[in-house]
Symmetry: C2
Subunit: 296 residues, 2 copies
């Protein structure tokens, strides 16, 4: 298996979209800016423009680094779509003051998403509070928090995008672990207020994923792709790899999401030490090639 995060050769994959002189169709491609982690908003926006990538997924911290107004200007002047804002969430605190801070911060994140024209705010809902083993209670607090935030988001034209995370992050990142579970929660609210994220890395193993993608339909608010690499690195968050470097078969996911009616952007979001250490322009070139070969 090809383990080079920025290699120009996708190994055994033969794509019909590259190497033949035909320009790949990038209409739906979005760069999640975490993929080019050393770039700020200005550099990532400029990189998208150079490569013909029409959309970008932004993160709150780099947006705050340049200031929200400047970030709004940058994407508007570059005529990029903002496919999502990452991320809100972390809604499992039991302690009232911590809980209130989390809710306030999520409202602020909704405001930022609205200003940026992002259709959704991605929510990583949070893990078990320190020292707690009460998973049902943590899940209940997430549901209560979503009930409080959903109308606020809806009024501002932003959808809360519940992201089920791989079960290996259940304890420390997200007590939402499957698409079925995310949909059970999302469906308690109007579709324009609460949707779900379909992320190949988090869901590829799930024997129910095809049924649940079909069920999700218009709830699909964001489609994120990256590979699942082995071995899982010491920092388990960094197992997200370049498409083609891991074990995921992408096309069935893209086709399932399409069949469910999703017509939005396809965001490439990679957390990976080697990818982050590479030249971001080379990362974009590889990303475009692999996207065309393996996802489209």
């Amino acid at each position: 298996m090809n383990t080079s995060p920025v290699g120009s050769d996708a190994g055994s994959h033969t794509g019909s979209h590259t190497g033949s002189g035909v320009k790949p169709d990038l209409t739906r491609l979005s760069l999640n800016q975490k993929t080019t982690n050393t770039w700020g908003v200005a550099e990532a926006v400029a990189g998208c423009v150079r490569k013909g990538i029409p959309a970008i997924g932004l993160w709150r911290e780099p947006v705050q680094d340049v200031g929200l107004e400047r970030a709004v200007e940058l994407v508007r002047d570059a005529r990029l779509r903002v496919s999502s804002l990452c991320r809100g969430g972390f809604l499992t605190a039991a302690e009232p003051a911590a809980r209130q801070r989390a809710l306030d911060d999520n409202r602020l994140a909704v405001d930022e998403a609205a200003a940026l024209g992002a259709p959704c705010l991605v929510l990583v809902v949070g893990g078990l509070p320190d020292g707690s083993r009460d998973l049902p209670a943590a899940r209940e607090r997430v549901a209560e928090a979503i009930a409080e935030l959903a109308p606020y988001a809806g009024e501002r034209g932003v959808r809360l995008a519940l992201e089920p995370l791989h079960p290996m992050y259940c304890a420390d990142r997200a007590v939402l672990s499957t698409l079925a579970q995310a949909l059970d929660l999302a469906e308690q609210f109007p579709v324009e207020q609460v949707g779900v994220v379909v992320d190949t890395f988090h869901l590829w193993w799930d024997p129910e994923v095809w049924t649940q993608i079909a069920r999700a339909g218009a709830r699909i608010t964001s489609f994120q792709v990256c590979d699942f690499n082995l071995p899982i690195p010491a920092d388990a968050l960094l197992a997200r790899g370049m498409m083609g470097d891991g074990v995921i078969d992408f096309r069935p996911f893209r086709e399932a999401v399409d069949a469910a009616g999703y017509t939005g952007d396809i965001e490439v979001e990679i957390f990976n030490a080697e990818v982050w250490a590479a030249d971001p322009d080379e990362v974009l070139a590889t990303m475009i090639q692999r996207y065309a070969e393996l996802v489209l």
Copy 2:
């Protein structure tokens, strides 16, 4: 959170079964010998006898180290129950010769389990073959192999115990990831031929686990406990921790398994570098204490 694998203090847990002079009820406790990984069969059997542990889960490699006949003698002379034999499986090879070797080896493992009086052979079904990304095909091959092995096992009084593994092992260890999925497969065969393993480490995150344990009923062939420790170590297989050192709430699992009608042994199976480096007799003492405090 207490991270000492062999500490004599289970931290904030207050058990009614220890420290009060009342001897804990070890009737259902089984030592999976992997927990005392530096011990061979003879030492593990002797350790169980010293500590009043009435059952043992054996592994094929240490059994082969002393020889099957000698292992049979050791457990018989010590009057220990053999709660399970670990493990068969690895049934996902696509290549015919490799596939045949796997089936032959699983028949041999069934014979060993029968000789040892183990009620079940635990199956870790295998991950994706090298270079493959075809998860549905790997799952199909598992189903075909179980169909071939189930009658053979049933005729020898051994149940095949399908073990759903945590989804972080889907690519390289087991394409069975949830109890629902294991039951969907097991239910295609007579209950005396194919059952399932309920292992807290693998299943604790699953929002469907309570429903599925109830559904499992008489299919539950083995109940294994250990904790889920964070961070996930470099060798992800070694994240299994001593009860009380991680994030799992054990009693609801034991109660759910009991309510489903399971009356068999409760096996403690820990893969953990620190536990393995500790004095095995101290590990057993801690295991008994934590079992009484947190599982019963």
